[in-house]
């Protein structure tokens, strides 16, 4: 008994005839598909050469790093738990107040930056560009500037977060406003309402849940940024963290990092619940 082919020859030919083109990629296209990974790798080689990465240091650095990690256990408060807790509270305060101020400032601005509510396109363009510029400077750089203005301490951090988030929130709010439906606004106008009333009763109910969700999200991510701006002296746990790294107190570093992890996880959880409560109630919008 001869071996039977798995698939009959005429079927195989039919399938090949139908889908043959899939296997018959022209060589140029094949070369092009290969060119992208090659270009990525080539640029990486160039980057390594340009930056003069000291490969010799990698082994000793890793050994050093292993030593650091070994020093981290067991994590310890170093006897100043109160200080760390206070610093963490400061971090939360910075994130909260920074987001709040950014919201209060960004909210009216965003109406000027939205296509459907701005009085003049020129105003919209100018505000958009300034928001972009503010946004492209990192919060840490703003923190450095504000430390020079109001002195060391968490207040500088609050202002830094407030400014850099005004840029981001202003953009997001104005996009939320632009994506609303005009009908509700028009019906208020048709009933003889002023344009202010139209915004209040026709537009705000549509954007508020979206905006609330975004604010919560930013509050969350600001807790993360607020943990680092202390490095430049703008308050929060970053100051302790950077000092401990510089003085090689790695058991305390580990403790601070665990505190950050727990706090961020808790805030994520709370804001997830709140977000669900706000947006879930109005799933139709």
């Amino acid at each position: 008994m001869s071996a039977r082919p798995i698939i009959r020859r005429e079927y195989a030919n039919a399938v090949l005839g139908r889908y043959g083109a899939l296997f018959d990629v022209p060589p140029l296209q094949r070369a092009f598909a290969l060119a992208i990974p090659l270009a990525i790798a080539g640029f990486a080689v160039f980057a390594t050469w340009w930056l003069a990465i000291p490969f010799g240091q990698i082994a000793s650095g890793l050994a050093q790093l292993a030593k650091f990690v070994a020093l981290m256990f067991p994590p310890s408060t170093g006897g100043h738990l109160n200080l760390l807790l206070r610093a963490m509270a400061e971090t939360l305060a910075i994130a909260f107040l920074g987001t709040l101020i950014a919201t209060v400032v960004a909210f009216p601005i965003s109406f000027l930056a939205a296509r459907n509510t701005t009085p003049y396109p020129v105003v919209r363009f100018a505000i958009r560009r300034s928001l972009d510029t503010i946004r492209s400077i990192d919060a840490l750089i703003w923190a450095l500037v504000f430390v020079g203005v109001v002195g060391l301490g968490p207040f500088a951090g609050i202002l830094a977060i407030a400014v850099s988030d005004t840029g981001a929130l202003g953009k997001l709010f104005s996009e939320a406003i632009e994506s609303t439906e005009d009908r509700a606004r028009e019906s208020v106008l048709a009933n003889g309402g002023t344009s202010l009333l139209a915004v209040r009763f026709g537009l705000l109910p549509q954007v508020l849940p979206i905006i609330a969700g975004q604010i919560l999200y930013f509050c969350e991510s600001n807790v993360r940024s607020a943990t680092i701006i202390g490095i430049v002296g703008a308050g929060g746990i970053g100051l302790q963290l950077s000092e401990q790294i510089r003085t090689y107190d790695f058991d305390q570093v580990a403790f601070a990092v665990i505190m950050i992890l727990v706090t961020v996880a808790t805030i994520d959880w709370i804001s997830g619940k709140l977000r669900f409560a706000i947006i879930g109630r109005r799933a139709v919008v």
Partner: protein, 294 residues
């Protein structure tokens, strides 16, 4: 014939109005409650945050005049020389800026590469083992929650000053952030091709390569490009703690009040981020188009 507006009988009207008042009152009370909670939170936060409005009012002119001070002194008559004076170190800064971009590039590449390798093991629909999936997810979480600046500080201590520390710090943070996004993208794929490949008796790696990867490649590339742009910004920041790139110079300029240097470096950074933003957005739109056409 006179037109007549249908009027509601007074008794019914009263009921409706009462209902309306009650509903409005309920919502008013709710809003007041939220406002009260907010006010209490603000009071507590203001205490911990050492908010000092007097200090702000006293020094706000410092802030506004800061922009005046960092503004370059340019005149129309002597424009070329003034610009040359403003950008007196253009060669050095351009080199450092390129350093920062390359640090971000290598960091993104390593971070995205390792995230790509791990994400398939962390996705609930493909993961071979639940324990492995859980631990990889925790690793992702750890890497993206610990600020990249903290990693940078530690790596500067371990590897010495220079770009290596910056690359590693950015790579680790990128690994955590992209790992999460990649995993979510994989969890949303169509499982039919995966089942098709699995039914031929393929191993895990082949299922991933032929069943899952083609579906997520475009969104992975798009996320990675977005991350690259973010990393150029944080590349400038990790430079501040000595991890290479232009951050160090910016830090020194701000701290030592070399005002016009601050504006010169910031402008270069803003422009290069904007250019990278534009280019990556173009590519991402093309990728999104491919995705839709597939």
């Amino acid at each position: 014939m006179t037109s007549q507006i249908l009027s509601v009988p007074p008794a019914r009207l009263e009921v409706l109005l009462a209902d309306y008042q009650r509903e409005v009152g309920r919502r008013r009370r709710q809003s007041l409650l939220v406002l009260a909670i907010l006010a209490i939170l603000i009071a507590i936060a203001a205490r911990f945050g050492e908010v000092d409005l007097n200090n702000l009012v006293r020094n706000i002119s410092n802030f506004t005049s800061y922009f005046g001070r960092i503004a370059p002194r340019l005149s129309v008559v002597n424009f070329g020389a003034d610009v040359a004076d403003w950008y007196w170190n253009i060669g050095g800064w351009l080199k450092l800026l390129l350093d920062t971009v390359l640090i971000a590039y290598l960091g993104t590449l390593f971070g995205a590469g390792s995230a790509l390798a791990m994400a398939f093991l962390a996705a609930v629909n493909l993961a071979p083992s639940n324990l492995l999936r859980w631990s990889i997810k925790r690793i992702f979480e750890f890497c993206r929650t610990v600020p990249d600046l903290v990693f940078a500080l530690m790596f500067v201590s371990a590897f010495g000053l220079g770009p290596l520390a910056g690359i590693l710090a950015i790579a680790i943070h990128t690994f955590g952030a992209l790992g999460k996004l990649f995993t979510e993208a994989i969890e949303n794929i169509d499982m039919k091709p995966v089942e098709g490949v699995r039914s031929t008796g393929s191993r895990f790696i082949e299922i991933v390569r032929f069943g899952a990867l083609p579906q997520v490649m475009a969104s992975f590339a798009s996320y990675t490009l977005l991350r690259f742009e973010i990393n150029v910004r944080s590349g400038a920041v990790v430079g501040m703690v000595g991890a290479g790139g232009i951050g160090q110079d910016l830090f020194v300029a701000i701290r030592k009040f070399y005002y016009t240097d601050v504006s010169a470096i910031l402008l270069m950074l803003i422009v290069s981020v904007a250019i990278i933003d534009l280019v990556t957005e173009r590519i991402r739109h093309r990728l999104a188009g491919q995705e839709a056409g597939r």
